[in-house]
Amino acid sequence: MSTLTTWLRDPNPASRMQSRLGQSYLSWLRLRRNPLAMIGLLITAALLFVAIFAPVLAPHDPITQELGRRLLPPGTPGNILGTDDFGRDILSRILYGSRITLYIVLLVILTAPVVGLIIGTVAGYFGGWVDTILMRITDIFLAFPKLILALALVAVLGPGMENAVLAIALTSWPPYARVSRAETLTVRNSDYIAAVKLQGAGPIRIIWGHVIPMCLPSVIIRVTLDMAGVILTAAGLGFLGLGVQPPLPEWGLMISAGRKFLFEQWWVATMPGLAIFIVSLGFNLLGDGLRDVLDPKSASK
């Protein structure tokens, strides 16, 4: 173990991999000192764990209705968090719901930041009229009310999980374009880019191999910080009946189902909301901590 840490902390790394791992190790040490960020990491890890092992962890099937056991309060043996109006176990539905949440988050992560990265780096690298046009488009999209636009989009595309993801992705790429353009501008005139250019590399190769990697840290921080927003928007769409459709156990949808008997059976709406809250808080805490660690500007303070 101690040889591993000395290898990681070696000030004169022998290989590129050693240097990279060493850097990550130092970042990890800094992150570990931040208790709130560690709580965030724990929550995120728990979300992953629950999503993977939902069938093992859940005491009941999330969809099967059992009308004889409807609206049981929390603490009922066999239904720790109570049951909903169809007699389905709320805990099991929340556990399975984590899969849907994770799925939506992953789909958005795989689209919006990628689009933003490409637009931002291309605009920043080429400059001139390409930059002007792309950034004008970005600014226009930034000036839109995101949630309402997503609502209108889903309204015409039709409700459903994929359309909700599409609407969220279409409204959330502009900040990534901004961030990656700013990063690109700082590196585009540096010597190492000039060196690669002299070797005869074309723009695509330079952007892909040498510019995008420099933008990644800032983009990753933004992604972590935005994740909570994505979860909240998806839940909002689900709540309005525009996202994931019943009987799937999506958290926002579950809250909307519990709204009808909020004052009599409070737990039906409360429990899934707590799940959303905890998971979003986890992402926010982690993102906040990561920003302190990975962002050189705030680290130097």
Binding site: A143, P145, I148, L240, L262, A269, I276, S280, F283
Partner: protein, 352 residues
């Protein structure tokens, strides 16, 4: 200020910038319309079918298409759409057959009232919290404001609204329930009250109906408080970081060395400079609240723009949805630009 009058040369760049902002405003506005136009015309939902219903004859359909300009090329349709919007024609609601603009303008004051009250509360709580947190970074107060703020970012606003109703209305009975007034007062709103502004707190006060004012206040305070919490989270965080930045400046050190009381250094000298970027933040959070009111309004049966849009969504009344979207979009873009302009006006450094 009094010794040297501003040279005229400084005014011209400022005017040029304002001109530039107006152009940007117009381009952004066109962009917004392009998106709503795309949503309404390019995505295949036949608008004629939704207006006339399925039993219309082919000739009627053709006539309607001709009347609506749907047989024209797309770019021409877009031109007509922009022209109509500029003249205030947002189309006709399918559900009520009323002009969308008329309906939206009836709903707008309720949203405006909610968002304004929420922003005022958010500023009153958020700015002092941010300032105090910045003066003692790492302290218990700083940590807890940060955590409370992060919690605000992490809660679904509709859930928070439901929980608020459950606790403060259902359990404690401290506030009024959904709606703007108790049912008993709703009648007198329509018949006894002169509606000057459409904002209920102002109208009841102007009519000297303080009993109604109190009732309206008990209804608005919960949704406004919930929105205020969210804007407070943002405002306090930004205030803290601006303040931290300002407290590191040399003029602060000078003031301290001169022996100026710390309270004056922070709340007068530093805060004055923090207010400049803060204006932008407040305007942005106001714009965000106009939008964030959508989900809150549905929870609190608040008859504003947000519930107008969501109600229209439920019955697929697309002209109403898109009309509402355009209005919120315009308000949003306008506030964005306004904050930009204010910033330039207040901060001389930004005029360069």
């Amino acid at each position: 200020m009094t010794s040297t009058p501003a040279p005229p040369s400084r005014l011209i760049p400022l005017l040029r910038q304002i001109g530039g902002t107006v152009v940007t405003l117009f381009v952004t506005f066109l962009g917004l319309l392009m998106v709503t136009f795309f949503i309404s015309n390019v995505i295949p939902v036949d608008p004629v079918l939704s207006i006339l219903g399925e039993r219309a004859t082919e000739a009627q359909m053709e006539e309607a298409r001709e009347r609506l300009g749907l047989n024209e090329p797309l770019w021409k349709q877009f031109g007509i759409y922009v022209g109509n919007t500029l003249q205030g024609d947002l189309g006709t609601s399918i559900r009520t057959r009323e002009p969308v603009l008329q309906e939206v303008s009836q709903r707008f004051p309720a949203t405006l009232e909610l968002a304004t009250l929420a922003t005022i509360l958010g500023v009153l709580l958020g700015v002092p919290a941010g300032v105090i947190a910045a003066t003692k970074p790492g302290s218990f107060f700083d940590q807890s404001t940060r955590l409370i703020g992060l919690m605000g970012y992490s809660m679904p606003v509709f859930w928070l609204g439901l929980m608020g109703l459950l606790l403060f209305y259902g359990q404690l009975g401290w506030v009024g329930g959904p709606g703007r007034l108790d049912a008993g007062y709703q009648m007198s709103l329509d018949f006894e009250l002169t509606q000057y502004t459409g904002m209920i707190l102002l109208d009841t006060a102007l009519n000297n109906r303080w009993d109604m004012f109190a009732n309206a206040f008990s209804h608005i305070i919960l949704p406004a408080g919930i929105l205020a919490y969210i804007s407070m989270a943002y405002i306090s965080r930004m205030t803290r970081s601006f303040m931290m930045n300002e407290l590191g400046q040399e003029y602060i050190t000078t003031a301290r060395v001169k022996g100026m009381p710390e309270r004056r250094v922070i709340w007068v000298h530093a805060l004055k400079n923090v207010m400049v970027p803060l204006i932008t933040v407040i305007a942005l959070s106001y714009a965000y609240l106009l939008e964030g009111a959508v989900l809150t309004e549905t929870i609190f049966a608040w008859p504003g723009l947000g519930s107008y849009i969501t109600d229209a969504l439920m019955v697929a009344d697309m002209p109403a949805v898109l009309g509402g979207t355009v209005v919120v979009g315009i308000a949003y873009i306008g506030l964005n630009m306004l904050s930009d302009l204010l910033y330039r006006l207040v901060d001389p450094r930004a005029r360069v």
